[in-house]
């Protein structure tokens, strides 16, 4: 495909997004809460779309399609476990995060942990873990975009440029109006993701499966419909993903942005419906690719191979939908990390900093983080792949601290520090060395270590004074929300 068409499609897509972002800019007020949390005034529909588009990245249309292509239905199951676990956790945790944000004025999840455990060092440690684990994750999105642009254009758009376009677009949306712009443009990206996928499904169904898709796939690739993963692989991949949504700041920060309880309900239901539709579609693409383009050497090239067989206009639409998935993920990550760097790191170094100054430093970090992520994306694929896998696993180190913050009054600051640091080191070490003691994957070991240390140390140390008040207040969130409204 001519690079000109790709550039044109990107310009049109970017123009629509910029219009939305400009509208958001017109409503931008002053202050950190306004910029990073849209003044806690986001409603159901935008809330559902921004959460969905943030969570579902280019991994779905490239990585998961490839995983289904290579290993069949088990990959679908793995994604479903993630979805259902997330829905239950959202129902339990969003109201608690939300009411805590309203009461104590939290802007970041690291700030919440630091305040609940009455230890500023915790906010700094968690902030550093977030930054170290999520920049490689951002880079993977850029790698996908670079490879896709290069592949679609037949090399006309070089990899470095393809991987640079998305951070530039995302930077404009983030910088211009912060969370409100990101949330609104995420809604656009979410709609594009669904339209692109549904159109592709319709075309594939009509063109390649005239005698029915399900019958044909069942006849040609029955092995893909059987569950083929081993137990340790299933456990090792599912376990970090079950809790992934709670642990990534770009998601948990969204729990602070909602305006009321109706919006919480709308966000959860909307996310569930979006997630179900998108996951099923992506699974069907993987299974269809196994029938249409069998025998590919690299499973991740299943979607590009599929796109090479469809009309150029459709391939371009789907490619834009994949770019949209990437942009909606990376803009949320960078916005979240910049707020964390300003509030949890810079403020720790300079406690008396003004809000304007904090916002200035947070915004300054936005282009720097995009540049670092782009720089990472120029490195070798293998290393980034390992770092990205480590990122989801590494976040398991703070899971006991997060759950304990809301549900266990005995949880202490010493326990958080002494459990999260060794755990993240062990996870990183096991990943780097390719170690799986007793066949268990690194995140499983990380979770065991951090849980044991967190519980034991909490029992022998004194809980902070705020713990009981915090746990009681967030547990009684319904009564407190009602009182707040009245």
């Amino acid at each position: 495909m001519s690079p000109l068409w790709i550039y044109l499609a990107i310009v049109i897509w970017f123009a629509f997004g910029s219009l939305i972002s400009w509208q958001a800019r017109k409503r931008l007020g002053k202050g950190v809460t306004e910029y990073f949390l849209a003044n806690r005034r986001i409603g159901s529909v935008i809330g559902a779309f921004t959460l969905s588009a943030t969570v579902y990245s280019a991994f779905m249309m490239i990585g998961l399609v490839g995983l289904v292509y290579a290993t069949g239905i088990a990959a679908f199951g793995f994604e479903v476990v993630f979805l259902v676990a997330t829905l239950v956790l959202l129902a339990l945790f969003i109201p608690r995060f939300w009411i805590a944000g309203k009461k104590y004025g939290y802007v970041t999840p690291a700030e919440l942990l630091g305040d609940r455990y009455e230890n500023r060092a915790i906010a700094v440690i968690v902030a550093i873990i977030f930054i170290l684990t999520l920049i490689p994750y951002t880079s993977v999105q850029l790698i996908g975009a670079g490879l896709l642009a290069e592949g679609l254009s037949g090399g006309g758009i070089p990899y470095w440029l393809g991987s640079l376009i998305l951070p530039i677009i995302a930077f404009v949306y983030v910088w211009w109006a912060g969370m409100r712009s990101v949330a609104w443009t995420d809604a656009l990206q979410g709609i594009i993701m669904l339209i692109g996928s549904l159109t592709l499904l319709a075309f594939i169904w009509i063109t390649f499966f005239p005698e029915g898709m399900f019958n044909t796939i069942a006849a040609s690739s029955p092995e893909k419909l059987k569950f083929t993963w081993g137990f340790n692989m299933w456990l090792g991949l599912c376990l970090p993903w079950i809790f992934f949504m709670l642990l990534i700041p770009q998601v948990s920060q969204r729990f602070f942005i909602l305006k009321d309880v109706r919006s919480i309900r709308g966000m959860i239901i909307g996310f569930g419906i979006f997630g179900l539709i998108y996951t099923v579609l992506v699974t069907i693409f993987g299974l269809a690719a196994a029938h249409i383009v069998p025998g590919l050497e690299k499973a991740d090239s299943a979607m590009p191979a599929l796109l090479s067989l469809v009309p150029a206009a459709l391939a371009l639409t789907v490619a834009i939908s994949i770019f949209a998935a990437s942009v909606s993920t990376i803009n949320s990550i960078v916005l979240s990390l910049s707020s964390i760097a300003g509030r949890d790191i810079y403020r720790a170094l300079s406690p008396k900093i003004s809000e304007d100054r904090e916002l200035f430093w947070g915004k300054l970090l936005i282009p720097i983080m995009f540049l670092i992520a782009w720089g990472f994306a120029q490195l070798k694929l293998g290393m980034i792949g390992i770092l990205s896998t480590m990122s989801s696993g590494g976040l398991m180190s703070i899971l006991p601290a997060l759950i304990g913050a809301f549900f266990w009054k005995r949880g202490t600051a010493t326990a958080v520090i002494s459990s999260s640091i060794p755990s993240v080191i062990v996870i990183g070490w096991f990943y780097m060395a390719g170690m799986k003691p007793l066949g268990l994957w690194p995140p499983v070991w990380g979770l065991i270590i951090s849980t044991v240390i967190y519980v034991v140390v909490s029992l022998v140390t004194r809980p902070p004074e705020k713990a009981a008040e915090f746990v009681d207040y967030t547990s009684n969130w319904q009564a407190n929300a009602k009182a707040m409204v009245e």
């Binding site: 088990a74 129902a91 069942a218 059987k226 569930g272 009602k482």
Partner: protein
């Protein structure tokens, strides 16, 4: 944690156990769409319905 939340967690635990048991006992033997594909499609549908009912009942006062 409130009673209705405990019920939600319990239902979730049962479901997760099911998603860890079914694949290795039943789904690995069924090479058709009525096996893993149907099972894994129905699980989120059931969870969405359960959560909609849970929120409607438990958060009733706040959703008026």
């Amino acid at each position: 944690m409130k009673r209705n939340e405990l019920q939600l967690v319990l239902a979730f635990a049962v479901l997760i156990i099911l998603t860890f048991v079914m694949p290795f006992t039943v789904l690995k033997h069924i090479p058709t769409f009525s096996g893993g594909f149907t099972f894994f499609s129905l699980v989120p549908v059931a969870v969405i319905i359960y959560i909609v009912i849970y929120m409607a009942k438990s958060w009733k006062e706040l959703l008026k």
